[in-house]
């Protein structure tokens, strides 16, 4: 593969422009999705939490907006402030790695950055990543496999690449995009139900479109003929926008958003490569390092793998070589990056002749890692056990709430009491297991459990007795978003059936 000869400066400009375009596309697509999600959440809130006249309807919508906004902000901050220690990385032991830290400090001087912390992660595969919300709190993590395989020139290239990520604010950008993508979406089972329904009967989709058009027409007519109906227009129009434009946008969002996220991440990789070359003036060093990190070179870190998508965009080389990485690659093809780097400088045969690795580092780092090893190994099964305890506590609390409801609404209260225990337990346990396995807080089963739990029988009853197909669909959706089905579907979708089974098996074997 060959590439046009373009200087590092040209590449930097090109990549900055492309990132801007991609970010605009991301934002444009995000607006209808957010509109739909707030409309959707608003409907739930208005139906179940704040039933009442139009004023409470508005309150429900406002509450939905603030809930969603708060959730997104919380997620963004949490992802941004993720510390390398959660990956299992440890700081270099005192007195070792002096040459490496000095080199990092000197390169940081060249990039005009404060010296980041240097951490090391036990992993036979060669990889590196940068963490931290801003340059002052940034860290660079190198895997032990990287330190053992790379020569000084190659290490320089990798360090400069990570420093470029820090200087460009890529950690902030990538994690913000990732957090928005993970938060601003329908709960997984609801998404699949809607998508499945839309695919199964395109006729009913047409009906929905007709309904939407009729509603729009009515709103416009009303506001045109009577002056008093004007407020209705302001309520209905954004709402119709949310459903009419937002629903299709939301259906394509998981794929389109992920593709855009990956495209942004790939651009930032190219940019960091080019800026690393501007700093070290040695494209072949980085190219050689990338050659050594090419696919199939050794296993990947348990710490990095467990975090999967959350840190994949921070690493210099891709974490997975599987289907997901091929569909939505977070990194440009490594051959392409090497070809571009070759185009920036005098060609040399790659990989560079094996120079002495930063050998003095490996022994003390390995000793430190060995002593830290015990505390890092995740204990299998604790997740499910804790999930059991949490679920038990939650469903006890909900049982008390159900008793409270009994006096007000006897039917709903009885149903809530009857269905509470297994649902609450399953939801909490699955949510907590998912949280443990993926290190990702799986919020929606718990919220669904709390908010909609008592209403399943009510919604089914009203849906069956109600006249329209809309009510039945609603009841059906409500049933599917109920704790048991919702939590199970969500946990299966996110963790995978096999992994959950394996965990249960390990618990039963007492390991």
């Amino acid at each position: 593969m060959t590439a046009r000869r373009v200087s590092a400066y040209g590449r930097i400009e090109e990549n900055r422009r492309a990132t801007r375009l991609l970010l605009v596309a991301f934002a444009v697509l995000l607006v209808p999705v957010l509109a739909f999600l707030t409309a959707y959440l608003g409907v739930w809130l208005a139906m179940y939490v704040l039933p009442g006249p139009i004023a409470t309807w508005l309150t429900a919508q406002a509450l939905a907006v603030s809930l969603l906004a708060g959730l997104i902000c919380w997620r963004v901050l949490r992802v941004r402030n993720a510390l390398p220690e959660t990956l299992g990385a440890i700081p270099l032991p005192d007195g070792s790695g002096e040459a490496l830290t000095r080199r990092l400090a000197n390169l940081a001087l060249g990039a005009g950055l404060p010296t980041p912390r240097l951490l090391i992660l036990k992993d036979p595969g060669a990889n590196a990543l940068a963490c931290g919300p801003d340059p002052e709190r940034a860290s660079v993590v190198l895997t032990s496999g990287l330190i053992e395989t790379l020569g000084p020139r190659e290490l320089d290239g990798v360090l400069a690449h990570e420093l470029a990520h820090i200087a460009n604010g890529d950690i902030r950008l990538n994690s913000t995009v990732a957090a928005i993508l993970a938060t601003a979406r329908l709960p997984t089972p609801v998404y699949w139900v809607i998508l499945f329904g839309a695919a199964m009967s395109l006729a009913s989709l047409g009906e929905i479109v007709d309904l939407w058009r009729a509603g729009l027409q009515t709103a416009l007519n009303e506001s045109a003929t009577t002056g008093e109906a004007a407020p209705a227009r302001w309520i209905v129009l954004p709402y119709l926008f949310g459903i009419g434009v937002g629903l299709p946008a939301t259906l394509v969002w998981p794929a389109a958003g992920r593709w855009l996220q990956a495209a942004i991440a790939r651009r930032r990789e190219h940019l960091a490569d080019a800026e690393a070359v501007r700093l070290t003036r040695d494209p072949m060093g980085l190219a050689s390092a990338l050659t050594r990190m090419a696919p199939g070179r050794g296993p990947r870190a348990a710490g990095l793998r467990r975090h999967g998508a959350a840190v994949a965009h921070l690493c210099i080389a891709p974490l997975e070589w599987g289907l997901a990485e091929r569909l939505f690659p977070t990194h440009p093809p490594i051959d392409r990056r090497i070809a571009l780097l070759k185009g920036m400088g005098a060609p040399e045969p790659l990989p560079l002749p094996s120079e002495a690795p930063a050998a003095e580092l490996v022994a003390p780092a390995r000793a430190a890692l060995q002593s830290a090893q015990a505390s890092l190994t995740p204990r299998a099964g604790t997740g499910l056990v804790t999930g059991f305890l949490v679920g038990w506590g939650v469903c006890t609390a909900l049982f008390a709430l159900g008793l409270g409801r009994l006096s007000a609404e006897p039917a709903a209260g009885v149903a809530a009491l009857a269905m509470r225990t297994p649902f609450g337990f399953a939801g909490a346990a699955a949510a907590y297991a998912a949280l443990r396995v993926r290190r990702r807080f799986y919020w929606w089963p718990i919220i669904v459990m709390f908010v909609m739990g008592p209403y399943l029988p009510v919604s089914i009853a009203s849906g069956v007795r109600g006249a329209g197909p809309g009510a039945v669909t609603l009841a059906y959706l409500a049933a599917l978003t109920e704790p048991l089905a919702g939590a199970a579907l969500g946990a299966f979708a996110s963790v995978g059936f096999a992994e959950l089974t394996a965990r249960a098996y390990r618990v039963s074997r007492g390991r």
Partner: protein
């Protein structure tokens, strides 16, 4: 709508836009200048640190080769020159002089095996190599900042504002070694690249 009002509004908008652009460009130029100053202070700190290290080096050489008067006095003079330098061109000159003097000093050290083997001298040499590397990187950062600033000062349309502000393009901090200086190779591979 009245065409006159539209015309006046359009002209007003245009003027407001131009004023706004001018303000932003002015700010960007001032900020760029401050950034270059800051980047220069990074270079200056490293230069000062090297100047402070040189007497130690001269002393340890002097312990073995006291008769090399010329080299040692030259070192002291170059060092004072660098410490007095307060602008980039002056520092450039003084730094080059100091670099030549240090090069000669190290060449002298080559002929004293005892000196070369002394732990003190080796440590000093290592530190000197690190400082050379730091200076090289600080200089690179300074030059890239200056490149960005000069781009703003010399290209249209921001050059119009720069002319009004009476800004001149800044000089890069050059550090090429004269041909007659003996090339010094330090122990570490990376340091050699930094000196050249």
């Amino acid at each position: 709508m009245n065409p006159a009002i539209v015309f006046v509004a359009a002209v007003g908008l245009l003027i407001a836009g131009a004023v706004l652009w001018g303000l932003f460009t002015y700010n960007a130029l001032v900020r760029g200048g401050l950034q270059a100053d800051e980047a220069w202070s990074t270079v200056a700190v490293q230069l000062k640190r090297r100047a402070a290290l040189v007497p130690n080096l001269a002393e340890s050489v002097g312990a073995y080769a006291a008769h090399e008067r010329d080299t040692l006095t030259e070192i002291a003079r170059a060092r004072r020159g660098l410490e007095a330098a307060d602008s980039a061109p002056a520092a450039e000159e003084a730094n080059a002089a100091l670099g030549r003097a240090v090069g000669r000093l190290l060449a002298v050290a080559e002929s004293y095996p005892d000196l070369k083997a002394s732990a003190n001298f080796i440590a000093l040499q290592k530190e000197l190599a690190d400082l050379e590397e730091k200076i090289a990187f600080a200089r690179q950062f300074y030059n890239s900042t200056v490149l960005e600033l000069n781009g703003r000062i010399e290209t249209l349309p921001s050059s119009m504002v720069a002319t009004m502000m009476n800004l001149k393009a800044r000089r890069f901090f050059e550090m090429d070694e004269p041909a007659d200086t003996p090339r010094v190779r330090f122990a570490q591979g990376a340091a050699g690249a930094a000196v050249s």
